[in-house]
Symmetry: C2
Subunit: 293 residues, 2 copies
DNA sequence: TAAAAATACTCCATAGGTATTTTAT
DNA sequence: ATAAAATACCTATGGAGTATTTTTA
């Protein structure tokens, strides 16, 4: 079977037109070169050089093999390099799932920082709910997921790292009686109509808000569950109810809305970076390290 | 150094996800496969598979190497094939020098025949005089040359094969007194003005005609030496003189000209195929064989 | 416990190195 | 006569195969 070592010898001979010189170049001896060429010629059943003790002349077949061998050897060298770069996370792909809210806060800068360190990785972003992310992880469709803390039954499969902490805030229409307060207790809103983000899209957020109301001794009257935060803001601005949502919502178009902090302790809304620690791609590993710095 | 054999084992393992199965596929034993993978991993200083006794999972670096290895192995296989085809003259280039007259006779059909047998050879034609062909041979610019028999001092360097035999003919204007004869002796033309093809372009033709006249006991009065045969015909048709040229000239535009054979023995005009027998490319060899059949 | 990869160990093929021969100018 | 490739021969590396151990679900 055609050996790479023989091809190297062949290229050296073709270049130098001299077996002995080729041997010197490759730090070996002339008979070794002779054998390499002979073995190639035997395998191909074709003369590669017309030679005698006075000169070495390449044949047409030799010219062809020279082209091929040069390409092969370059490819082998390149293969080593690229495989190594892949192992270091310098080239390859990185697929990231994220909640829409991540785009409102840290994600753009984080990706930008990563890209500046790893410009040759092909990053693909997928907007996904938490449960879609779980599914995507199982199907190997994403390497990293930005979402809320995972349900307890899943935490053993994943490593998680808190990236961003947000707090709930009340959103009132500008002309609401309580809109000019610095902060307010949720209990003050017990008789209001509530607009909350859709439960199917974000269970933990919805249920967290319900719990919070119950801690304040009331069950909220929920009159709307929009699937987009912008719709929630518009609904509130229209005077159809009051909203409770993470503060990052204020990065959207908020005309007509007033954000009022909740007094006392309100639950934190965490955004975490999740990944499967066992099958972590080098690009994902590099991204995580990048997010630490 | 990365061995092709190791790459083959690697591809088999990556495909089958099982060392033992890969060994069976490659007609060897499992420890050999283990060693091949280990040696690759050692050279690259990177894990290619995450594996234990229950499963084999390729890494990102492994995925990259799989792409590369597949390409490398295909290229190596292809290199063998293409080198062999080159040796057989099935692919490559063929550079042919020829005299313009060759185009009037056998050359188009011969090339067509060759191309039908060897459609993947890139044929290049160069219109050249005999002496240009000699120079081109020395500079390795042509593989084959179609021209006249070579001067004696060169015949040892070349192999030559007669391809086409032509005879001299007299060319008269249609209204010439001798134009209606079936044949004529050159001596009948001793007092005519002669138009001959240019001596610099074709020495042996010119000198051959002069000798022939002298054998007929006269020296021709040469009034024109055009460098193109078509010009010679036009000159004759215009009544400026009579021509002597190879019969193949009659394949040009001959209006106003009458071709009359020379009685008795007239010298033959040979077109030969010349080549350097020692450095004969496989494509040229195939062409020569093709021209024999 | 079973199946599969890793390791240990032996043996042989073969690649490399030295010395010599052949060959062409 | 000389320079360079081919050949002969020896040595030693290392690759292949066998047997065994380790590992994990």
């Amino acid at each position: 079977m055609m050996e790479l070592k023989s091809l190297k010898s062949f290229v050296a001979v073709a270049t130098l037109k001299n077996f002995s010189a080729a041997a010197r170049e490759l730090h070996t001896v002339q008979p070794a070169i002779s054998r390499h060429i002979l073995s190639l010629e035997e395998e191909l059943d074709t003369a590669l050089f017309i030679r005698n003790t006075r000169y070495v002349k390449i044949t047409a077949a030799g010219e062809q093999l020279l082209k091929e061998a040069t390409e092969i050897l370059a490819l082998v060298e390149g293969a080593k390099l690229r495989t190594l770069k892949t192992a270091k996370g310098e080239i390859g792909t990185l697929k990231i799932g994220y909640l829409p809210s991540a785009c409102l806060t840290f994600l753009p800068q984080l990706i930008k920082k990563y890209k500046s360190h790893y410009p040759n990785v092909e990053v693909t972003l997928f907007e996904m709910t938490v449960s879609q992310q779980i599914t995507a992880f199982e199907a190997n469709q994403i390497d990293l997921g930005f979402s809320r803390p995972l349900p307890d039954n899943l935490t053993s499969n994943f490593d998680s790292k808190t990236i961003y902490t947000d707090r709930l805030t009340v959103i009132l229409p500008n002309d609401h009686a309580l809109a000019n307060k610095n902060q307010l207790s949720l209990y003050e809103l017990k008789d209001e109509a509530f607009i909350l983000f859709n439960r199917d899209e974000a269970v933990s957020l919805f249920d967290g808000i319900i719990s919070l109301c119950q801690e304040n001794n009331f069950s909220p009257n929920i009159v709307g569950q929009p699937k987009h935060m912008q719709t929630l803001l518009t609904t509130v601005a229209s005077g159809l109810g009051v909203g409770i949502a993470p503060y990052c919502t204020s990065a959207l178009f908020t005309q007509g809305c007033t954000f009022v902090p909740i007094s006392g302790s309100s639950p934190t809304i965490l955004t975490q970076l999740h990944y499967k620690k066992l099958l972590l791609s080098p690009t994902a590993k590099a991204f995580i390290e990048c997010s630490d710095r």
